[in-house]
């Protein structure tokens, strides 16, 4: 197999991992593992926003490949599949077409339907209200608000206005809708409704990945993750705080 084909496979696997919220060290490991299993010695450097690979070709000429990553979501099943794909390459290598097709099918896979995820977002808010010792009425209110937040967050993220705007808007919606709910049905606890509906926005993935990267010595990427987490929390709470500043007097 040609060296640039190996790099193609490695870059594609790395891109899938990075866009689906993997840790940085896992991307570097996977790229290295794929290249080694084809007998290619590669040096790679991965940032949360891009992948760089350089290989010394047979005639001693260096070949390099840069891939810019713009979108970042979280899809744990993609990470799991690419991980087992790279491990299976180690045991027996595939042809170029076969490998690219496998990666394509991993990338294209839809996973759970949007309607189901929407429903689940509502159930999450419902369950968290109960877990924080709210009443059933509170939970029903946060069920609808949680669904609304997830819906608007996904739609705004798809529209791609700018990063973190979706979190800010979700914070606004969470607080605004909770105030409306409390105004309509007296006896609800606004505090529990807002907390449980913003639970799905909090940056668990960013923080955990950042610390794991720090453990593997990748301080640059871990700073990125921590900064991302802080930005998310600040934008959600800015949204909530703006509405609360106006709304608490109104209730």
């Amino acid at each position: 197999m040609k060296i640039n084909q190996v790099m193609d496979i490695a870059i594609k696997a790395g891109k899938i991992l990075l866009t689906n919220g993997s840790e940085i060290y896992r991307v570097e490991d996977t790229i290295g593992r794929i290249c080694r299993s084809y007998g290619v010695d590669a040096e790679c450097f991965v940032l949360p926003t891009g992948i760089f690979i350089t290989v010394i070709g047979k005639d001693g000429e260096p070949l390099s490949y840069v891939k810019r990553i713009n979108e970042r979501t979280v899809d744990l099943s993609c990470i799991e599949k690419v991980n087992s794909f790279s491990r299976s390459l180690q045991r027996n290598t595939m042809s170029y077409e076969e490998a690219i097709n496998t990666l394509d099918s991993i990338e294209k896979e839809k996973g759970f339907k949007f309607a189901l995820r929407l429903l689940v977002a509502g159930i999450t808010a419902f369950v968290y209200t109960l877990l924080f010792k709210g009443t059933i009425q509170d939970s029903i209110a946060s069920f609808f608000i949680g669904m609304l937040i997830y819906f608007s967050k996904e739609k705004i993220a798809r529209a791609g206005i700018f990063r973190f705007f979706e979190h800010f808007a979700s914070g606004l919606i969470a607080a605004g809708m909770s105030i409306v709910a409390v105004k309509l049905f007296s006896g609800l606890n606004i505090y529990r409704i807002i907390i449980s509906s913003i639970m799905i926005l909090l940056p668990g993935v960013a923080i955990t990945n950042a610390l794991k990267d720090a453990l593997h010595g990748d301080i640059v990427s871990s700073q990125f993750g921590i900064a991302e987490a802080v930005f998310i929390v600040v934008s959600v709470s800015a949204g909530v705080a703006i509405i609360l500043s106006f709304g608490l007097g109104w209730i």
Partner: protein, 144 residues
């Protein structure tokens, strides 16, 4: 008992949102359940939120690293939805609310609590995965 079931659902649901494969969902739920049981139990005994979050995260970390080895999946599949119930949403919200009510002292109080809790959770996960890496390295040396 009721809370245990709730904690189970509370980590399966984020699991579905993060697209965990179907055969792993059950294990994801157990991860969150164990974390929450530890958290709630330690909180009742000691009354220290930060310490309870830390121990809860350690249990989630231990569980997910071991299950990851059995099921041959990355540990993050189990640990990320598993720590979901431990995330200090209440403290973050309280801090925001105090800021909007212009009670800055209380806001700083709860804000620091939120930061301490998240640091404790992250550090718990980190500690466990460090120990597991160390173990892996030492077993590799023995076999090699």
């Amino acid at each position: 008992m009721e809370e245990i079931v709730l904690a189970f659902i509370a980590s399966v649901c984020p699991g579905i949102m993060y697209n965990v494969t179907r055969r792993n969902l059950l294990w994801v739920g157990i991860s969150g359940m164990l974390g929450w049981i530890t958290y709630a139990w330690i909180l009742e005994v000691t009354g220290n939120v930060v310490f309870s979050s830390f121990l809860g995260a350690i249990i989630v970390g231990l569980y997910s690293e071991s299950v990851a080895r059995i099921l041959k999946a990355p540990a993050m599949v189990f640990s990320i939805p598993g720590i979901f119930p431990l995330v200090p949403g209440i403290a973050i919200y309280n801090s925001t609310q105090y800021i909007s009510e212009n009670k800055l002292l209380e806001a700083a109080n709860t804000g620091i609590q939120a930061i301490a809790c998240s640091a404790a959770i992250a550090f718990g996960i980190l500690l466990v995965s460090a120990v597991f890496r160390l173990l892996k390295r030492s077993t590799k040396k023995e076999t090699a």
